[in-house]
C-alpha cells in the first residue's frame, strides 16, 4: 500500500479512444478512481471535473480511472465510458480503463471515488474523498483543492488523508 510521502506506482492506461496516459510530467497530478454506476462517484463528478478545469492553467493533470469489473457491472464497460466522454461529461479529463485492475490494486484504491494527489516527483501527498459531503455542492472538492494548493506551493497538505467514501470497487471474481 502506498502511504502519504511514498512514491506512487507508475502506470500507463488507455483512455476511451485507446490513447495511453501516464501520471507525471506536471507539478501535480490527481488520480481519481471513479466509475459510471456509483451514485457517490456521480454526485462528486462535476466537482472533480471543475477542479481539473480550474487548475489546468497551473499545469495540474487530472486522470480519471475506471477499474470496475464490467462483466458484472455492464454500465462500466468501455462502450459506456466512451459514451460519457462523447457526451462531454469529462470535459477534457482523460477517462482511463484499468481492465486488469492492477493499477487500482497497486494504489490500494477502495472506493469510487478515491482520490490521490501526486506531486511533481510522483510522491503521494493526499489520499481520500474529494470533500466532506457528496450532497453539498458548495464543498467544491475542497480537500483536493487544499492539497493541490499546498503541493503547488511546495508545502505539505495540512490534511493529507481522509477516509474515501463511495461504492466499493467491483473486483473481478
Amino acid at each position: 500500500m502506498t502511504a502519504i510521502g511514498d512514491p506512487t506506482p507508475t502506470f500507463a492506461l488507455p483512455d476511451t479512444e485507446g490513447i495511453m496516459h501516464e501520471p507525471g510530467g506536471a507539478p501535480a497530478t490527481v488520480v481519481v478512481f471513479t466509475c459510471n454506476h456509483c451514485p457517490y462517484a456521480l454526485a462528486w463528478h462535476d466537482r472533480v471535473v471543475a477542479l481539473a478545469r480550474d487548475y489546468a492553467d497551473r499545469g495540474v493533470r487530472v486522470l480519471a480511472i475506471n477499474p470496475n469489473d464490467a462483466e458484472r457491472y455492464p454500465r462500466d464497460s468501455q462502450q459506456a465510458m466512451r459514451e460519457r466522454v462523447r457526451r462531454g461529461d469529462f470535459d477534457g479529463v482523460p477517462y482511463l480503463r484499468d481492465e486488469t485492475q492492477e493499477v487500482a490494486r497497486a494504489y490500494d484504491a477502495k472506493t469510487t471515488p478515491d482520490v490521490f494527489v501526486l506531486d511533481a516527483g510522483g510522491v503521494l501527498r493526499y489520499r481520500g474523498a474529494p470533500d466532506a459531503d457528496y450532497e453539498d455542492l458548495e464543498q467544491n472538492a475542497v480537500f483536493v483543492r487544499d492539497a493541490l494548493d499546498a503541493v503547488l506551493a511546495g508545502r505539505e497538505p495540512e490534511e493529507p488523508q481522509t477516509p474515501p467514501v463511495g461504492c466499493s470497487i467491483k473486483w473481478r471474481e
Partner: protein, 123 residues
C-alpha cells in the same frame, strides 16, 4: 391500516444507514410507526435476482418500489437516485419517500384526505 414498509440493502454500499434514518423520520412525520420497518440485507447475486433488487437502498411500500426500477438489472450495487433539485444521490429524496408513504396510505384509506403533491419538476 396495515402498511408494509421494507428497506432492502447491501452492506457494501454505505448509504443504507442514512436511507433508514430518513425513512424513519418520514414515517414519523406521516404519523406512522417507524419500528414497523422491515429491514432486510441482500447478500448474494442470487438473492438480488430473487428479490428483484436493483441496488441499495431499495424502499418498498406494500411491495411497490418508491422509485420505479425501470430497466435496471438486478444486482449487488449502490442505487442511483435523483433529488428533486436534480442532484444525483445514493438515497431517495425524503420528500419522495413522504409522498410515497402518503400515497400508499391514501390507497388503503380512501376516505383520508390526500396531501397536495409537493413534487418540484427537475430542471
Amino acid at each position: 391500516m396495515c402498511m408494509r414498509v421494507e428497506l432492502l440493502f447491501w452492506e457494501d454500499c454505505p448509504s443504507h444507514p442514512r436511507a433508514l434514518a430518513e425513512l424513519r423520520m418520514a414515517m414519523t412525520e406521516e404519523g406512522l410507526d417507524p419500528s414497523t420497518i422491515a429491514v432486510r440485507e441482500i447478500q448474494t447475486q442470487a438473492e438480488a435476482t430473487r428479490e428483484r433488487f436493483v441496488g441499495s437502498p431499495t424502499i418498498r411500500i406494500d411491495g411497490v418500489d418508491i422509485q420505479s426500477p425501470g430497466e435496471e438489472p438486478f444486482g449487488l450495487t449502490c442505487r442511483v437516485y435523483h433529488r428533486r433539485d436534480g442532484r444525483i444521490s445514493p438515497t431517495p429524496d425524503p420528500a419522495d419517500v413522504r409522498d410515497a408513504l402518503n400515497a400508499a396510505r391514501s390507497a388503503t384509506e380512501p376516505d383520508r384526505p390526500t396531501r397536495p403533491n409537493r413534487r418540484i419538476e427537475r430542471s
